[in-house]
């Protein structure tokens, strides 16, 4: 009986000359080293591009009027005239914007995904419009049309910020919803007796949590950085205060406020991400229906 794999047998195996693995790789070691080197260069250049202004800002904010290293600007910031009020207003506006944006955009995005997916392209275009239309056009139009009682409230700005944040919020939600089989999950929930609210609360929202958090962080960053609308609507938010505040500190306090805003956004981002991770870990450990 011919051995299995031998010549002429049913399982004849063609012997292929073995070759070094390197020959089948994407390039020679030298070439790969060169690619890695370029990657490092790009990374360093990008890092320098982003980090140098931040470094300069931090350095300036940690100097006093005489140019010596000092935390004076940060110590003086809370007591700076108008800063606390501006920060409080910005926080309130941020909270209102996040709430309105979420309430408006989450159900809309889900409805479009589940019921009328053909409208997704239209929404893609519509939600980009706030980027194309300058904020100054939006706010001047709104101020010309809205009644005085609406203009008297700072929360009118929140509704404007919702429009400004729409491209980022919609895209985050769209990506999150696209990553799950929304239609099947929704139908599974409904067939098991879940109404729309319970399906939204127990099934959809937990599964798009990263997208929701991402949308929230982007919205907060936008609100804390928006200047044009707030200044034209005559409300002193943090960015407006930074521009308007003028003391003998030669700008150290303003830069300190900017740095605080930047670091604050980062801290918020880290908090949100770690909160999400720890919640995921907790829910995985949690047993019981």
């Amino acid at each position: 009986m011919a051995p299995i794999g031998g010549p002429g047998s049913l399982f004849e195996v063609e012997v292929v000359e073995s070759r070094p693995v390197a020959e089948f790789s994407s390039g020679s070691p030298k070439r790969r080293r060169r690619i890695r080197w370029w990657r490092l260069v790009v990374l360093v250049l990008a890092g320098v591009y982003f980090l140098i202004p931040i470094y300069a800002g931090l350095k300036f904010s940690f100097e006093n009027a005489a140019g010596h290293l000092s935390d004076e600007a940060f110590r003086d910031l809370p007591s700076a005239p108008g800063f606390t009020a501006a920060l409080t207003l910005s926080l309130k506006l941020a909270l209102a914007t996040v709430v309105v944006s979420t309430v408006l955009m989450v159900p809309t995005s889900i409805y479009v995904h589940v019921r009328v997916p053909r409208l997704r392209r239209l929404l893609d275009v519509v939600t980009v419009l706030p980027i194309v239309i300058p904020p100054i056009v939006l706010i001047i139009g709104v101020l010309g049309v809205f009644p005085q009682w609406a203009k008297a409230s700072p929360y009118l700005l929140s509704f404007m910020y919702v429009i400004l944040a729409m491209p980022f919020v919609y895209r985050s939600l769209d990506a999150g919803l696209g990553a799950i089989d929304l239609k099947t999950l929704t139908e599974a929930s409904r067939s098991l007796g879940g109404n729309w609210f319970k399906t939204l609360w127990r099934v959809i929202l937990p599964n798009i949590r990263p997208a929701l958090l991402s949308a929230t962080v982007l919205t907060l960053a936008l609100v804390f950085g928006e200047y044009t609308m707030a200044s034209l609507d005559l409300w002193t938010t943090v960015p407006v205060w930074i521009v308007q505040f003028n003391t003998s500190s030669n700008g150290h306090i303003q830069v300190a406020a900017s740095m605080l805003g930047l670091v604050g956004t980062w801290i918020l981002l880290v908090l949100v991400v770690s909160l999400d991770r720890s919640q995921s870990r907790r829910s995985r450990r949690k047993l019981g229906a």
């Binding site: 098991l192 047993l287 019981g288």
Partner: protein, 376 residues
């Protein structure tokens, strides 16, 4: 893969309930999508506790029929009646129908246990009851040890078994299975197929199963509804469907048939030189030119240098080998035992003969489903 436990039917969850075994009646269903008539006067009665399979090619309307029954699709006209109650306008969440989907539908944010308990939670059952019933159902599908795992930590087969347990947890009046095995590999599919059938028989729950896989249908269903273009071609038990297809479409869609031109005269045809009676059905009314639809096992093959046919292809299927013979313009498939098939060489001249008592005959003009001649 964890085996399903053969536990005794002693607890409340695995005993047939009053709700189990509902009679389902789909009456003259019409559903159109633009110019496409997905359901065209579809009428089907399903007996209590029956396992009914909807079988047909893509686009025949089988999934639409299931979704209409589940309440996920609105009807243009017609009625969905369960146990004498018209559910046509009842929301999906109030129909008490458990559904297992084709794609993995477990909630990714919940453990297996919480997935199974979800329907009970929606019914406001206490947490103790939810947990007890969910554990029982997980034991029933042999996955009690996976209770704490999340969907992404489980295999496809395990996920579908959890989905089955979840659908059964609400003690549904009707169990709907929308191609639940299609995403699984062959071995898992065969195992889960047997488990689903076993559970369905134990619980005596009315089940509607949508698939395009004939093997699944023939091995699982009490009756099969073969669909084409939104209407029913035939409703029959699997054995009858295979042995006595009512139409040429069924003959070619269920199992494999070769079409051989014949002349019908006085209810008889001559196939491969042998006179055979025409099988009861539409072929009885035909005269003149027609096609005989022959199963691979209806034909015998013999190597003969004088034979008119020659072997163009052989496919090995373990105990059986399928031989494709070209005779004139016709391609005919013949099943032989593999020990016989191994003696038949490619290109060999062969002689074919008919071994069936009678043959199914269809009009030559009739448009049928997938061309069976295209595949071995």
């Amino acid at each position: 893969m964890t085996q399903m436990k053969d536990i005794p039917m002693t607890n409340s969850m695995v005993q047939p309930t009053a709700a189990a075994g509902a009679a389902v009646s789909l009456e003259n269903l019409v559903r159109t999508f633009g110019a496409v008539r997905a359901l065209d006067g579809f009428t089907l009665k399903i007996e209590p506790g029956e396992f009914m399979a909807l079988l047909g090619p893509s686009g025949c309307g089988k999934t639409t029929a299931l979704r209409v029954l589940a309440g996920f699709e609105l009807l243009d006209s017609g009625r969905v009646v369960v146990d004498g109650v018209d559910l046509s306008d009842v929301s999906a969440r109030k129909r008490d129908m458990g559904m297992v989907f084709q794609s993995y539908s477990l909630f990714p944010n919940m453990s297996a246990l919480n997935n199974v308990a979800f329907g009970l939670r929606m019914r406001k059952q206490s947490s103790q009851v939810r947990r007890k019933k969910a554990v029982e159902l997980l034991e029933m599908v042999g996955l009690a040890d996976q209770a704490a795992k999340y969907p992404h930590q489980m295999s496809g087969g395990q996920q579908q078994r959890i989905a089955l347990a979840r659908a059964l947890a609400i003690e549904p009046r009707v169990l709907l299975l929308d191609e639940p095995l299609s995403a699984l590999d062959a071995m898992v599919r065969a195992e889960l197929r047997d488990q689903i059938r076993l559970l369905q028989q134990r619980l005596a729950i009315t089940t509607v199963f949508v698939t395009h896989d004939q093997e699944e249908v023939l091995s699982m269903a009490d009756r099969v509804c073969v669909m084409s273009r939104g209407h029913i071609e035939q409703v029959a038990p699997p054995s009858e469907l295979y042995a006595r297809p009512a139409t040429a479409f069924v003959a070619q869609f269920v199992g494999i048939s070769s079409r051989v031109p014949v002349d019908v005269s006085n209810g008889e045809v001559v196939v491969f030189g042998k006179r055979c009676p025409v099988r009861s059905g539409e072929g009885r009314t035909l005269t003149g030119g027609a096609d005989a639809l022959l199963r691979p096992e209806d034909i015998a093959i013999e190597v003969d240098t004088e034979g008119k046919g020659f072997v163009t292809r052989k496919s090995f299927f373990g105990a059986m080998t399928r031989v494709v013979v070209q005779t004139g313009d016709i391609s005919v498939r013949v099943d032989v035992r593999s020990d016989v098939g191994s003696d038949i060489d490619l290109g060999a001249h062969v002689r074919l003969s008919i071994v069936a008592r009678d043959v199914l005959v269809a009009s030559r003009q009739e448009v049928v489903g997938p061309d069976a001649a295209a595949t071995p």
